[in-house]
């Protein structure tokens, strides 16, 4: 690809990098770093994995969920968006969609090389869209990849937004499960994800971004939905999530599940199934 790769000694610790990524940018024009960041020899912390599994509802297995690898790459997202070459900051960026593929089962004991870069800066009606693209390798083999699309509200990018996406028509669904999300869930997920974004834990911060109460992290909802059907997920799979409407904490939501030709379709909805919060598709990796 010809992209410069900055190899870090270890995953960036909580602290400076996070702080920088959280400081709102004054820039109006969206700029993204052209380089990739990479860390080799990442040891998965089994205690944290066990904790993550509990918080998200997964069974603790010898192989890890795809969403866990996403969580492991998160410090690299932060490093990229905290870089001085980035005017897009993590704070205020809205996670719009996530796609990830587990190419082969990954053991909890495997050491991973993680690499993330930003690409595809493009205009959107409400700001700028960027893709954070991650890859996990074991011994040179890509075992997982994922892309998170963020919307940087209010930022400018030259050009015209693509015409409204062909978002599928939402038909109200009958939920087959009800999740009661406690107020402390935001803190529980912060502990296991190490994502310090205050919007998930602080009412004041949530208000500052226009939410009445803290909102649960979209990747928790994603993980919880996969966990709900974990026995039916193939050994290698692709999961696509669209984050449509934040879930306020505490709160109660529903889960609708419907099999389709490709695999499973999951919808995390309002309690009555009238409106979707998160839509997910899971199918075997090709």
């Amino acid at each position: 690809m010809g992209r410069d790769v900055e190899t870090l000694e270890a995953l960036p610790p909580m602290g400076a990098a996070f702080a920088k990524a959280l400081v709102p940018s004054r820039a109006g024009v969206a700029r993204i770093p052209a380089h990739a960041v990479r860390v080799d020899g990442v040891v998965q912390d089994l205690d944290r994995l066990a904790d993550y599994a509990r918080v998200c509802g997964y069974t603790l297995r010898d192989t890890v969920p795809a969403t866990w690898i996403h969580v492991l790459t998160f410090p690299l997202h932060v490093a990229l968006l905290g870089d001085r070459r980035s005017s897009v900051r993590l704070v205020g960026a809205v996670h719009a969609t996530n796609t990830m593929t587990l190419h082969r089962p990954v053991r909890a004991t495997e050491r991973l090389s993680l690499e993330v870069h930003v690409e595809n800066l493009r205009p959107h009606a409400r700001g700028a869209l960027i893709d954070l693209v991650g890859r996990a390798e074991v011994g040179g083999e890509t075992v997982w990849d994922g892309a998170s699309t963020y919307l940087a509200s209010g930022m400018e990018v030259p050009g015209h937004p693509a015409t409204a996406t062909d978002r599928e028509q939402w038909e109200p669904a009958q939920p087959i499960a009800r999740w009661r999300l406690p107020a402390h869930l935001g803190r529980d997920y912060r502990r296991v994800s190490q994502d310090p974004n205050l919007i998930h834990t602080s009412r004041i911060a949530a208000r500052a971004f226009g939410f009445a109460r803290p909102i649960i992290h979209g990747m928790w909802t994603h993980a919880r939905a996969l966990a709900a059907v974990e026995g039916r997920i193939p050994a290698t799979y692709r999961a696509e999530a669209a984050f449509l409407k934040p879930i306020l904490l505490p709160g109660t939501v529903g889960l609708a599940v419907s099999p389709n030709d490709e695999g499973l379709r999951l919808a995390v909805t309002t309690k009555d199934g009238a409106k979707p919060h998160v839509l997910l598709g899971v199918h075997p990796a090709r």
């Binding site: 297995r61 010898d62 026995g231």
Partner: protein, 422 residues
């Protein structure tokens, strides 16, 4: 009983000491891992199995449907039914017999028998007075009633209650009971240490020859039984201080099983089902018997299997000479040694109503790939560890060879079963 029931496979995760590598894993996690490993090896992903029966001795109240929940987390078809059974340390053998009987009757053609226990993630409960106060408060219809309920709370009520290993009727722990048996049957220290050392050496040798390659699936980075000490010796074991029976006791941490974490599963099927699924039947389930003794009345707590063994052999028209391999669960080395002595004791056997002594077990036929002292003993999993191990050993020796399993259990109970290679 018209259908032949075969053991067509087995799987467990390596066992580990309490507080070790599985400290963060729950019974649900480990049971799912054991089942999924079996499903993967036998090619049963997405398959609807007749029934899965599992259990745990130390169980959280939220795990009332432990086995069914594990099935739903596993790769088995979600339409696979399950039930929880529990018979202390004999659980894994009792779940095996429960399913074997159903298959024999034609109610099922396939089943997975399992057991799991975590002493690391043991349930902690609240004291009885606190529980009563909480229940009363939850039924209260007014704030006043609720306050009145909580007003009865005393600091002493707040102490958490760990599960006890003591027998409810005697207040003695299993080790203390076994210490009485050890004295009564005059089992010396050297014999216990020799048996313990042999268990470790035989289990290590079985691992080394790859015997467990199709019986165990690694879990959370553990690839071999973490309790196993291949380099232990009679000399090293002799240096340990007594753990039970007072300063002159002969039972130590080395010749008693440690508290363990682990899970095991057995695939049972009719011969036809096994053939349709291209699975090699290792052995058929011949018969089994469960028994109990009057331990509050002074009987040896862990010798209930002796009576069951005598009756079972008699019912099948067999003697110990017809048995090629013996698997006697090593709760303690002295349990095995006392059991063997009891088998040969005419008076004891007569007191059980048997026609004479059961007979002697040649040491070379006993626990040939080690047992619980070396592997560990996650209570409910042990029976489901032994069944496939013995079935595979018999299969290696050829059709017609027979094996006997004897598992003692808390409450003065025990289960004995006979397998025969097919």
């Amino acid at each position: 009983m018209s259908h032949t029931v075969v053991v067509a496979g087995g799987n467990r995760i390596p066992f580990a000491k309490a507080g070790g590598p599985y400290a963060r894993a729950s019974n649900h996690d480990m049971l799912t891992a054991a089942i999924d490993g079996l499903v993967a090896r036998a090619g049963l992903a997405g398959e609807r199995i007749g029934e899965v029966a599992g259990g745990a001795v130390l169980k959280h109240p939220g795990d009332f449907n432990l086995t069914r929940e594990a099935v739903l987390s596993s790769a088995l078809a979600p339409e696979t039914p399950a039930c929880d059974l529990q018979q202390a340390c004999a659980t894994g053998l009792e779940t095996t017999m429960y399913l074997a009987n159903k298959i024999a009757l034609g109610q099922l053609t396939s089943g997975i028998a399992a057991g799991v226990d975590s002493t690391s993630d043991a349930p902690i409960s609240v004291s009885d007075p606190l529980r009563r106060i909480l229940l009363k408060a939850s039924r209260a219809r007014s704030a006043q009633e609720r306050i009145a309920a909580f007003a009865k709370l005393r600091p002493a009520h707040l102490a958490p209650q760990a599960p006890s290993v003591a027998e409810p009727r005697t207040g003695l722990s299993m080790g203390e009971h076994q210490a009485l048996t050890t004295l009564r049957w005059d089992i010396d220290r050297a014999a216990q240490d020799e048996l313990a050392a042999a268990s470790h050496h035989r289990l290590a040798a079985a691992w080394d020859r790859g015997f467990f390659d199709d019986l165990v699936t690694p879990y959370l980075g553990v690839t071999r039984d973490a309790v196993l000490r291949p380099d232990t010796s009679v000399e090293r074991l002799a240096a340990l201080r007594p753990a039970f029976g007072g300063p002159d006791g002969t039972m130590t941490a080395g010749n008693s099983t440690p508290l363990s974490d682990g899970a095991a599963a057995v695939l049972l099927a009719s011969e036809e089902w096994a053939a349709e699924h291209h699975l090699t039947p290792w052995a058929k389930v011949v018969d089994a018997e469960v028994a109990a003794v009057d331990h509050p009345g002074g009987a040896d707590l862990l010798l209930a299997p002796v009576g069951a063994t005598g009756r079972l052999l008699a019912r099948q028209g067999l003697t110990v000479d017809d048995i090629d391999l013996f698997e006697i669960h090593e709760a303690f080395a002295s349990t095995v040694l006392a059991t063997l002595k009891a088998w040969q004791d005419p008076e004891y056997c007569a007191s059980l109503g048997l026609d004479g002594p059961i007979g002697a077990c040649p040491p070379e036929k006993l626990n040939v790939t080690g047992s619980s002292l070396a592997a560990g003993h996650p209570f409910a999993a042990t029976g489901a560890r032994i069944v496939p191990t013995l079935a595979k050993l018999l299969h290696e020796r050829g059709p017609g060879t027979r094996g006997l399993i004897s598992v003692c259990a808390a409450g003065g109970q025990g289960v004995v079963a006979i397998l025969e290679a097919v």
